[in-house]
């Protein structure tokens, strides 16, 4: 189902070449100042303004349809629409029956018996990350003074990757990369043991971002090669601060007051203009295709703000379920 969250929850909708994409957000407290300008910075960070990103240029102007009155949230569901203006559905007629390798074309065709909107990936499009970013803007306000910061670690395995992108653009290929994310000013006690561990919830939502193939918290995969005496973070004072942070700020699924840290692996974009083999779904015959149209050769450049958004969404939900138990003492 296209919904995430318990007390703070989001539902995203829309297709790449339909009238609009958008989000309904439930569980926002009343009284938070909010205007359409608040979205500008984060939307800009996701926009394809950089070399290596798509030539589709949408205005990405958020229209608030509900849940705001006199520039403050009302406590009712808040809906934001982004109209699609730069649609070119004709770009996609050629690939209607030829699934692009690495894309959701084949799985969507089969899951929905051929009724899916195949234009630009339809509902599977990366364009659906735009309402995620918008929801993240609100979540970031809710969790203040918690702060989240994500950035690129590597692209194509390199930390200095400008030249690599140029080469890749020339060859019609695409590049993957890794993102690191840190959340600061985290209170002790967010999260639940087992099923709603902080790692579980962040991983759940991070893997909702198209192209993510891996996540690790703290020292992650490295800890599997280490000994307990090396990995255990020593608590140095009663606030829970630790000298090292191999745990990534989480013990037993619950925040320990240190930074939450994690890394995310993005695969390269599936759309490349190099010729690839595929099959025709109507005939079963082998065929070839080269993906033209407008797409990102290195969409990972646009993803740090998306990773921040989903992290903020998880933290906002966790914050709103945190129970005040002291009244029972």
């Amino acid at each position: 189902m296209n919904r995430f969250g318990t007390n703070f929850s989001i539902s995203i909708f829309g297709e790449s070449h339909g009238p609009a994409v958008g989000v309904v957000i439930d569980g926002i407290p009343a009284g938070i100042e909010l205007s359409e300008n608040d979205f500008t910075d984060d939307i800009l960070r996701r926009s394809p303004s950089l070399k290596g990103t798509t030539s589709r240029k949408e205005k990405d102007i958020p229209k608030i349809i509900s849940g705001v009155f006199n520039s403050r949230t009302t406590g009712a569901p808040l809906t934001i629409l982004f109209e699609n203006e730069e649609t070119k559905p004709s770009d996609y007629e050629q690939i209607k029956n030829i699934p692009r390798p690495g894309h959701a074309d084949f799985t969507a065709y089969n899951k929905y018996n051929g009724f899916n909107d195949y234009r630009g990936g339809g509902h599977f499009s990366g364009r659906l990350t735009l309402p995620l970013v918008a929801a993240g803007v609100i979540a970031k306000k809710m969790i203040n003074p918690m702060e989240i910061s994500a950035s690129i670690s590597e692209i194509g395995g390199m930390t200095e990757y400008e030249q690599l992108i140029d080469q890749c653009a020339a060859s019609g290929d695409s590049l993957g990369g890794t993102i690191k994310c840190a959340a600061r000013n985290i209170p002790v006690g967010l999260g639940e043991p087992f099923f709603n561990s902080v790692e579980s919830l962040i991983a759940h939502l991070v893997f909702s971002i198209p192209g993510v193939k891996g996540i690790e918290f703290g020292s992650g995969f490295k800890t599997a090669k280490m000994k307990g005496s090396q990995v255990n973070d020593i608590i140095s004072d009663i606030s829970g601060k630790t000298a090292t942070n191999h745990a990534g700020g989480i013990n037993g699924g619950i925040t320990n007051g240190n930074m939450i840290t994690f890394n995310v692996a993005f695969k390269p974009a599936s759309s490349i203009s190099i010729n690839q083999k595929s099959i025709d779904l109507t005939t079963g015959h082998a065929t070839e295709l080269s993906v033209s149209g407008r797409h990102d050769l290195c969409f990972v450049l646009r993803t740090p703000v998306i990773v921040e958004a989903v992290t903020a969404i998880v933290l906002a939900d966790l914050l709103s379920v945190q129970k005040e138990t002291k009244q029972y003492h």
Copy 2:
């Protein structure tokens, strides 16, 4: 909350040194043959029979309290209890106020204002994975002919690790490791775009297992260093079979008919008998502790069956929500 799943759902409960641990499972179809013997093999795979695992030897006999009649499931909630018999709560009095580094002691104490059952980690204990394994046994029956197989890839960074465990036992330290998991005979079309992607759901539940710090699907973190032309799996026939499987069997969050594959990183056990620094929560003073008691120096040896169980639980839930759409054509 201690519950996972939509149409097939589980609630686990219990504490390491309380009367019992157990699980309530909802959404099991009526008519599945089930007896207490069906649990034997998987429970044995989780049991601490191997070198490097805890000396606490529980009988781990499942008692079915509800939901089975005449050796078949009834469709009503199915409850399984495992009584705790080998409890030694006195082992834990010493650490009542001294959080063990790397454990949930500190976070649990703060989240629950000191009312948590601290004995053996209480509800945070790895013993809660026993009811997970039991739920997995039932889920595996539900998803037949899908099959799941997990095994150890490395311990302490090595594929031949027997000697390493001996050394570690001698030094009182502990070891982490990685597990690989594959699910076969997967139909096309399980999972949802975005929030209920197959990766999202499996990652959610895998991170519920104590000690997990990372997960990657298919070629995972490696894909971040690769090009699209290398990562895209070419579809070779109309069933969706691909020659390579960098995607780990999932495109756009939805199964593509190939094997689901993923790797999981487990950190080393936090309990080690080497002296470590900590603080006393009642005084705030620095102190030291050496964790005695019974524990695993290499609990990763016991985890493959747990990883299989949570994967089966996710697939059983996904299978039960898969809609039959053809009636509308």
Copy 3:
């Protein structure tokens, strides 16, 4: 939270005098034929075309924003917007701080600390039943051949109520009424014991309709005065058909194959032009108000299609969770 349903779920949003009201619907199977014309009849049944209903005349044209492609549902979330065009927010400035008796003005003001959109009841407006009706249109398609039919039983305690409405209009007062609803062609086995009984789910959603104060299934409150020998419906053949239907088609929370029948009580509209006492929330002083603006003196005339819609939504959800168990025999 503003969401209902498990596998077929709806989220409604919007305010009476905001830009639009709408709904996101999740869990619609792919391939159902759907155009904006399909909504016409049910929307007309809800529209204020009758004597005794509001003079606010909205066009109520559904705009499908997502989830439909080539006139069929795609399986992705389906979003429908209804723009508000006939807004007159100035009508409500007078009552900004004076809660109208019987309305949600007082509770909304307190729950949302005064940040609620008070114009026309804001999110609490009966206008939000328009997206409910739209969702009902789709649900009715999904549950075919099940059929739902609701109609007015009484208004103001009378079955012939035309004259009563005229009198009430003259006096500036309002009228309540009762609706009866029947659902036919119901398969045996929908619903769950206890928490998801069919009565529980229908009652849940019927009480979401503004103005509902009671519901009873089958012979309802009358059964409380009867004996078991009178109430028990005798099963007359193996299909489950019963001669009487005191149970309203439900035993143990589960449909028995007979008609589902229930009655719903609607209170009279709270908005009346007769002078009433209230208080000023800013000063705490007693005051009086007469509700002018545009409103229904007998909104119950418009409710049968809303009751049908919510019943269809419940049945669509129940149908989609019904498990096929025969494969396990």
Copy 4:
């Protein structure tokens, strides 16, 4: 699914003649004093000690399996078991294939393809209301100082019903009745507009109690015969107190600070010793049966505490989701 609640949630399980019935309760704050004695009074109010109630006498001793440590709740899931000791499954062999009129025998048989535990109604038994009452005891502690009080209004249509019960016992028939319930000391602002209205949630859970056929809030069905000028409750001070309470303490789905009041209709017990017609499910032939075994001729006598319990469960959940918005001003 056998679960109810968002932040405070319950899962009930068990069968009438299985080993035990019980409940897992999630979302209890840590630190609430709790011992097995706390359950005594409410369990006694549900017990069949009165004339007109079943001769099955269970000890009904709660066994706390998890979630309590040192006589206080820990914040972890709390599980309570009630062992079944007085089972006489042989009583039910005669009716294995002959559905008792008015019971869930027919619907359960069909829903679960004959795999249901038919003994004493299995999971559909009124015995499952015992764990509901136990969960209610904890919920009542959580919502303090809110207080809930339910009592019998009428049995068989009479307020003085002792003689009626005697007559009915002599004739082998059964009696229905109505319960009235009031909740006091209710804060303003619990509940949500539309889907999670207080009426929706209370009705949802009240209809989970076996035998309920109707519910009405405040003046309920009477309001359908009244005018707005009669039904509107005038707010007399800034706390929201109203002179009348036709609304039953709820406006727009949200508590207004006055008493929550509602009435519940229970049908007569289906089990009567008078001969009734039915059919044999294996042959389809008409047959007759007289229900012997142990059962209640007037189970409504035992239900006030059950109605209180489910109301407390709803209020505890609503209280735990109530958002504190003032920090955003």
